[in-house]
Amino acid sequence: VEDRSGFEAWYRANHRRVLVALVAVAGGVELGREATDEAFTRAFERWDRVQVMGAPTGWVYTVGLNLLRRGHERRALERRCLQRLGTRDDAPPATLAVEVWDAVCSLPRREREATALRYLGGLTDQQVADAMGVAPGTVARLLHDARTRLADLLDPAPLDATHELEADR
C-alpha cells in the first residue's frame, strides 16, 4: 500500500452519499456501513487504477452493491425469522420515520437499489445503470415500479388496490 494521494479528499467528498445509498439498499445501518467501508477499502487498495476511472464513485457503488447482494442471500433467512419474532436485526436510522424505512426496505432488491442510487446516491439514470449492470431503460422501469409500490404503501388511497406488495427479501 504505497502512494494514495488524492484518496482522502475523494473519500471525504463521496463517503456520505455512498453510505446513505448503501444503507438503504442494505435495509440496515450496520450492513450498509459494512459494505461502504469495505467498498472504500477496496478502492484504497486499487487507488492507482480507481482514480483514473471515468467514474470512481460508480465503481465504489458497484462494489458495494455486489457485497450486499452476496451478503443478502445469507442474511435473508435470518431477517425473515427475526421479523416473525417481532424483532429487528438492524434498526432504522433514528431520524427516519419507521413506516418510510419499512416501505423502502420492502421494495424488491433491484427497485431498492435503483431508488437508493438514484435518489440518495445522486447518480444519473445512466450511472445507476452502469453500477447495477443493467440497461438505462431498466432503471427507468425499476424506478417507476418503486414509486408505484411506495405510493401503494404510503399514500392514504392506494393507486391500485389490487397490487399486493411482496418483497424478494
Binding site: 445501518v29 451478503g71 435473508a76 427516519l96 418510510v100 405510493a151 411482496e166 418483497a167
Partner: protein
C-alpha cells in the same frame, strides 16, 4: 405519484455515524496486503517483540477479563493446549503470482512457479509467509515457465529464454541466486533424480526439404551443469512431461488424440516401449511402482479429463478413470491420487473417492509434503492468486466421511433442519428464501441463476430448484416416499409435466424441479440432528476430555482440539491505553462464515475479536462437525421455540430452535442447560455422528 426526493430526504439527512477514518482504511488494506490473517498475527507478534525490547511505544497485554474455561478433568490442561494446526488455511497471497503453474516443497519451503509473471514465490512453511519472489526470466522475451523440479541445494525451472537461446533456470536454495543453463531446445518438461536432470522439448531436425519437428530429451549434469547431446525420439510432437525413475525415463508426448507414453533407456537413449493413452495428455507422475497419466478428454465428449494408471513392470495400462476436471496437477497421497479440481481417486483401482464440494476448483497446481496438500486457489480478476494448505489427514477424513454418507461423486450433502439431502456440487447453496405468498421457506438455486422467485420478479425461476416451505401440517393426502421419509402428496404422482409437492408430518413442504429432480428427491433422509434426537446408540466416551464453561461441563471426543476463544484474545494498545489492534480466534461462524469445519473442534466461551470480513461474505457449505459451549446471553440470535430433550441425560436440557440452526449454512443442534451462573448453550454441528451427539448430550453435567 409520490415524490421520492421528498420522501427520502430524511434518510439523506439521517445521522449514520462518522466515516471510517482513512487511517483505519489504510490499516485494513495493509493488513490484507501483508497476506491475510495469519500474517497479521505475525505482524502483531513482531510488534510485541519490538515493544518488549525497547520498552516503549506499544504495550501488548493479554485481555483482562478472566478466561471462561475451566478444566474439570485433570487430564484437560487448556492453559497449555497449543492452538490447533491450521486447517484449510490460506497461508500466503502471491502478489505477483499470476497463474501458479507448478509447485513443490524443498528444504522446508514451498516453491511456487508463477507462469504469467515468470517468477517463483518462496514461502516458508514454518512461518507461513512469503520469503522471497525470485524472477526467473532469462533476459529475453518468451520462455514457458511451467515446471519445477528440485535437486540437492537447487530448484530448477523449465524453461526460460535468454538472448542466446532457451534454457532452464537454477535457483540456489541457499542464496536465491539464479543461474541459467542453456539447452538445445525450448524445455517444456523437466525431471530430476540423484545427480541427473532431464529436460524434454521439441526441436527441428533434418535439413533442406526434410526438416521436421521431433520430440527431444536431454540430460544435464547438475554438478557441472554440462548438457549431453540431445536425444531425438522420432515423434513429431511436444513432450509435456518427463519423469525419471529407477525403471527408466518416462516421456509423455502431447497429441490431440491418443498420446504416446514412451519409456526411454537413459543409458542408451533408446525408446524401449510405447503405450498410447487414449486422450490428449497433460500431466505425468511416476514412481518406481506406478506411472500415472492425466489427460484432457474434452475433445472426446463426455467428461473433461481422465487419469490412466500404467504398471511400469508390465508396461501396460492397468485402469483409466474419467474425471470432471482436467488433471493439470497430480499428487500421490498415501492410497489416493489427488488431481486438480480437487478430485480423489483410489491409487490402486482408480475408483473415485468423492470429496466435499468446498474443495472444488482448487489445485490447478499442487504438491504434497507428507502432512499437507498444497493447492493453488483460482486467481481473482485483479490478478492475485494464492496457495492453500490442506491437512492430508483432513482430506482423507473428508473422503471417508463422504463415502460413509453415501454422497454420489460430484454431489454435495445439505443439512436443513430435520432434513438431509444431496444436490449437484455445482449448485450454489443456499441462495435465497422463498418470496412467494409470504410463507417462509428456502429455495436452493443452481449456480449462475439470477432469479429469486416468481410472484413479483419477472425473471422466471431457473430450471433446477429445491424449494422447501415451512407450513402447518396438512392432514390427508396420498402416501408417498420422499427418499427414506414418509410423506404425502395432494397432486397426482402420475403428472409428467409437473412435480408433486411432498408434505412431511412436521409441516415442511418440498418440491424439486429440473433434470436432477428425481435424484435429489431420492436422496432425502433425516438430518444428523434429527437422527441424534431420536433413540439410538451412544458413542463410547472412553478417552473423552472434559471441558467446562459457566459451571457446566461437557465431554468431547479425544480427537477434537479444544479452542479457548476468550483465552486466545490479544489486545494491542499504546501506552495511554488506546486499543490499536486485536488478534486471536474469532467466534465460529463470524462474519457470515461457517460455524464448524469438517473435523471436530470444541470451542469454549465467546471471543471479543471481530474478524475483518473476507472479500466475499458467502462461504461454501461445510460438513459441520464440532461443539461450541458459551453463555446464553452471548448467543447472537433469538430463539423460536424450546422443548425438553427426552433422550439420555442427567440434567434437564432444552432443545432450542432459532433461525440459524435451520439455515443450510449453519446446520446445528442448540441445547440449553441451566448453569449456576445462568443459562449455557451447547451447540453441536449437525454433521457430527448422531451417536456422538447423543453421547455429548449424555455427558453434560452441572457439578455442585
Amino acid at each position: 405519484m409520490i415524490d421520492l426526493d421528498d420522501l427520502l430526504a430524511p434518510l439523506a439527512d439521517a445521522d449514520l455515524g462518522d466515516p471510517l477514518p482513512v487511517d483505519q482504511i489504510r490499516s485494513r488494506a495493509e493488513s490484507r496486503a501483508a497476506g491475510g490473517r495469519r500474517r497479521r498475527l505475525a505482524i502483531v507478534g513482531a510488534t510485541a517483540a519490538f515493544a518488549l525490547v525497547i520498552g516503549a511505544a506499544l504495550v501488548v497485554a493479554e485481555r483482562g477479563r478472566p478466561t471462561g474455561v475451566d478444566a474439570v478433568d485433570s487430564a484437560t490442561t487448556l492453559a497449555t493446549e497449543p492452538e490447533p494446526a491450521p486447517v484449510d488455511d490460506l497461508v500466503a497471497d502471491l502478489p505477483v503470482g499470476r497463474f501458479p503453474y507448478d509447485m513443490l516443497v524443498e528444504g522446508g519451503d514451498l516453491w511456487v512457479l508463477n507462469n504469467t509473471s515468470r517468477d517463483v514465490t518462496r514461502i516458508s512453511i514454518a512461518e507461513h509467509r512469503v520469503v522471497s519472489t525470485i524472477a526467473v526470466q532469462g533476459g529475453a522475451p518468451g520462455g514457458n515457465a511451467n515446471r519445477l523440479v528440485a535437486t540437492a541445494g537447487a530448484v530448477w525451472v523449465a524453461g526460460v529464454s535468454t538472448p542466446d537461446g532457451p534454457g532452464i533456470a537454477r535457483i540456489d536454495t541457499a542464496t536465491d541466486v539464479v543461474t541459467v543453463v542453456p539447452t538445445a531446445f525450448e524445455p517444456i518438461a523437466i525431471s530430476a533424480r540423484g545427480g541427473e536432470l532431464w529436460v524434454g522439448g521439441q526441436r527441428t531436425v533434418g535439413s533442406g526439404g526434410d526438416e521436421r519437428l521431433d520430440a527431444t530429451v536431454q540430460r544435464i549434469d547438475v554438478g557441472n551443469l554440462e548438457a549431453d547431446e540431445p536425444i531425438g525420439l522420432a515423434v513429431g510432437r511436444v513432450p509435456v512431461d518427463v519423469a525419471l525413475t529407477d525403471d527408466g525415463l518416462w516421456v509423455l508426448v502431447q497429441a490431440t488424440g491418443p498420446s504416446p507414453l514412451l519409456r526411454v533407456d537413459p543409458a542408451t537413449g533408446e525408446v524401449t516401449d510405447r503405450i498410447d493413452v487414449d486422450a490428449a495428455a497433460v500431466r505425468l507422475v511416476a514412481t518406481d511402482d506406478e506411472v500415472v497419466v492425466g489427460a484432457d478428454t474434452s475433445q472426446l465428449g463426455g467428461r473433461t479429463g481422465a487419469v490412466t494408471l500404467v504398471d511400469p513392470a508390465t508396461r501396460t495400462v492397468v485402469a483409466t478413470a474419467p474425471l470432471d476436471a482436467r488433471p493439470e496437477a497430480i499428487v500421490l497421497v498415501d492410497d489416493l491420487i489427488v488431481t486438480s479440481g480437487l478430485r480423489a481417486l483410489d491409487r490402486r483401482t482408480l475408483a473415485e473417492r468423492p470429496l466435499p464440494a468446498r474443495y472444488s476448483g482448487l489445485g490447478f497446481a499442487m504438491t504434497g509434503d507428507g502432512t499437507s496438500l498444497w493447492a493453488s486457489v483460482p486467481g481473482s480478476p485483479d490478478g492475485s492468486a494464492a496457495v492453500r494448505r490442506l491437512s492430508i489427514d483432513d482430506v482423507r477424513a473428508a473422503v471417508a466421511e463422504e463415502a460413509e454418507l453415501g454422497v454420489p461423486a460430484g454431489w454435495q450433502l445439505i443439512d436443513y433442519g430435520e432434513l438431509r439431502f444431496a444436490v449437484p456440487a455445482t449448485w450454489e447453496v443456499p441462495v435465497t428464501e422463498s418470496c412467494a405468498s409470504g410463507a417462509p421457506g428456502v429455495v436452493l438455486l443452481p449456480t449462475r441463476s439470477t432469479s429469486t422467485c416468481s410472484a413479483v420478479n419477472p425473471i422466471p425461476l431457473p430450471e433446477s430448484v429445491v424449494w422447501i416451505v415451512e407450513s402447518d401440517p396438512q392432514p390427508g393426502g396420498v402416501p408417498a416416499e420422499l427418499g427414506t421419509l414418509d410423506a404425502t402428496t395432494f397432486g397426482s404422482l402420475a403428472c409428467t409435466t409437473c412435480r408433486p409437492t411432498y408434505h412431511l408430518p412436521s409441516g415442511l413442504q418440498i418440491s424439486v424441479t429440473g433434470p436432477e429432480a428425481d435424484a435429489v428427491l431420492a436422496s432425502f433422509t433425516r438430518s444428523g440432528v434429527d437422527q441424534a434426537l431420536a433413540d439410538g446408540p451412544l458413542a463410547d466416551r472412553s478417552g473423552w476430555r472434559t471441558v467446562a464453561f459457566g459451571g457446566v461441563s461437557v465431554e468431547v471426543p479425544p480427537g477434537w482440539p479444544v479452542v479457548d476463544l476468550p483465552g486466545s484474545d490479544t489486545i494491542t494498545t499504546t501506552p495511554d491505553g488506546t486499543v490499536t489492534g486485536m488478534s486471536g480466534r474469532t467466534d465460529p461462524g463470524g462474519c457470515g462464515g461457517d460455524r464448524f469445519g469438517e473435523t471436530g473442534y470444541a470451542y469454549v466461551g465467546s471471543s471479543q475479536v471481530v474478524s475483518s470480513c473476507p472479500a466475499t461474505f458467502v462461504l461454501p457449505v461445510h460438513p459441520g462437525v464440532g461443539l461450541w459451549i458459551r453463555s446464553f446471553p452471548d448467543v447472537g440470535h433469538a430463539m423460536v421455540e424450546a422443548r425438553p430433550y427426552d433422550g439420555p441425560s442427567e440434567v434437564d436440557l432444552e432443545v432450542v430452535s432459532g433461525p440459524l440452526n435451520r439455515s443450510v449454512r449453519e446446520p446445528v443442534l442448540d441445547v440449553a442447560v441451566d448453569g449456576p451462573d445462568g443459562p449455557v448453550l451447547v451447540t453441536i454441528g449437525a454433521r457430527s455422528d448422531p451417536a456422538t451427539i447423543r453421547a455429548i448430550l449424555a455427558s453434560i453435567r452441572v457439578p455442585g
